[in-house]
Amino acid sequence: MVKQQDAIFRQAYPTPPYWTVSFNIPHPPAPGTFMLADLGGPLREVLFPAALTVDGFTAMVPPRHPATQLLPGATVNMLGPLGQGFRLDGTTRLLLVAEAALLPPLLPLLEAASAVALVVEAPTRAQLPSPDRFPPTTELLLVTRDGSSGYLGPLESQDPAPANLQRVLPHLLELIAWAERVCFACVNERYPALAAIVRAARLHPAPDFAQALVQTAMPCGVGACEICRIPTRFGEKHACTDGPVFDILTL
């Protein structure tokens, strides 16, 4: 059932490269599901939870996002929770893989399993999140596309690395073999290549072994507007109702 809820905006503060905004709301979204917030524009804004609190959730948004302009105590009308989120089902070994810019929706999963590994890729060192942001129990692999820090990306690349640098792909394959579940948050165009990596690491991955969050415009949230349709192996699907979390092997 699609709910319409009034959320109370609590605060906004910078957590570069994002801003963190927090809301109190009776029915907060689960990881991978989303809220559509009426922030005054012609379309509602998609908010994925970056953390769940006792009485609501926080989201991480770009610096000039309209949510950063709200005054504490403001009432914000929201639709949701909407969509199908991550399905972890008692996973104990969880691998998270994200581009730094798209990482926030995976953050609620950092403590969703007893052992969590996180692979974060950014174009360069300056765009990587600070390692102290993550729980000390998280195994962290940092990847840069220019080799300025951590392993050399991109995640899918099998090209030989220059001297003094190591490609991340062999380590990613190891982690996929280790994990009971893998959750991805990357641009949609990369998912077919990442699905191929999953297939290379696991002979017959179970359904939902590797899940991918599709981040796209979802103006209506209920499958009416057809703007969020994405191609899958089973025909076009609505990201807002069939997803936004999909089995990566279907993308």
Partner: protein, 292 residues
């Protein structure tokens, strides 16, 4: 009851003059949690073509201020699949269904109209035309829809073609006209990649937003009383007052377009306000003056 097709043998009576516009409300019950369908006059489905169509590639939405452009490519699984998936829902709905057909060729339009004839609770067809269509082509599509089916045919007139198409379609047998399809427009895509910041990317698509309302009212004011068939107003209607203005300027009913994505209950709020507004006494006898 409000009659949308007074010249048709069966007619198309609706209880209230409020409908969602094609492409905004899905095929049936997607908004049933948020909108009380019983308060609406009819459901206008998302655009359907005889054959399946895939979604447009790339960016599909661009926002600027209070307006936005949407470019979906009118994806749909094809009429047969739509009927198979939604026939039972349509039958259960408490309001009549008007199927919005993407009119491509006369042969396909005729075939589609034939498939829709006799479906339970499908009481009308709204034909969607391409923007630069000629009057001859529009009339041939209208003829095809009328020849093969027995349903009333509403034609949604392209934004820039009202003057050339409306009188001919009215004379050519359309049961009602929808004024208008959203205009085509171009906006820069806000989230263009930083490395391409100097070469901005643009999106062409359908324009939505409150600025469409004065354009709609202008069209209504120019055409009221000049057409022998009902006009359904569509474009930029965002409040009950907007809807009342459309009715005062001659519209028989209104459609709420993509603005309802932000505020789905807007439909029932408009319906509620219009129920208080006695359109019959205020409109029929003393049309509102338009001061220019």
């Amino acid at each position: 009851m409000i009659e949308l097709a007074p010249r048709h043998k069966f007619g198309l009576p609706i209880a209230t003059p409020v409908m969602p516009a094609a492409g905004t409300f899905g095929y049936g019950d997607t908004y049933h949690d948020l909108v009380d369908l019983r308060l609406l006059g009819a459901l206008v489905t998302n655009p359907v073509s005889l054959n399946p169509r895939e979604a447009a590639h790339g960016t599909r939405i661009a926002v600027r201020g209070e307006h936005f452009i949407a470019h979906t490519g009118l994806p749909n699984p094809g009429l047969s699949q739509v009927i198979r998936r939604h026939r039972q829902t349509w039958e259960r709905l408490p309001i009549p269904v008007i199927v919005h057909l993407i009119a491509t060729t006369p042969a396909e339009t005729a075939q589609a109209a034939g498939q829709l004839a006799g479906l339970p609770n499908v009481l009308g067809i709204e034909l969607g035309l391409i923007d630069n269509i000629t009057p001859q082509r529009a009339l041939s599509l209208l003829d095809a829809a009328r020849a093969e089916g027995d349903l009333p045919v509403i034609v949604r007139v392209p934004f820039g073609n009202v003057d050339t198409l409306a009188p001919q379609l009215a004379d050519g047998g359309a049961d009602a006209l929808t004024f208008t399809a959203p205009p085509r427009a171009v906006l820069p895509i806000a989230d263009a990649p930083e490395e391409n910041a100097t070469s901005c990317q643009y999106l062409r698509g359908r324009l939505y937003g409150p600025a469409l309302l004065p354009l709609l009212l202008n069209t209504l004011a120019r055409w009221r009383s000049k057409l022998p068939i009902p006009i359904i107003a569509c474009g930029g209607i965002a409040t009950p007052q907007d809807a009342i203005a459309c009715l005062e300027l001659g519209a028989t009913a209104i459609q709420v377009d993509a603005l309802l994505w932000r505020d789905p209950p807007l439909l029932q709020r408009i319906a509620g306000e219009l129920a208080k507004f006695d359109a019959s006494t205020e409109l029929d006898e003393t049309p509102t003056d338009v001061v220019v």
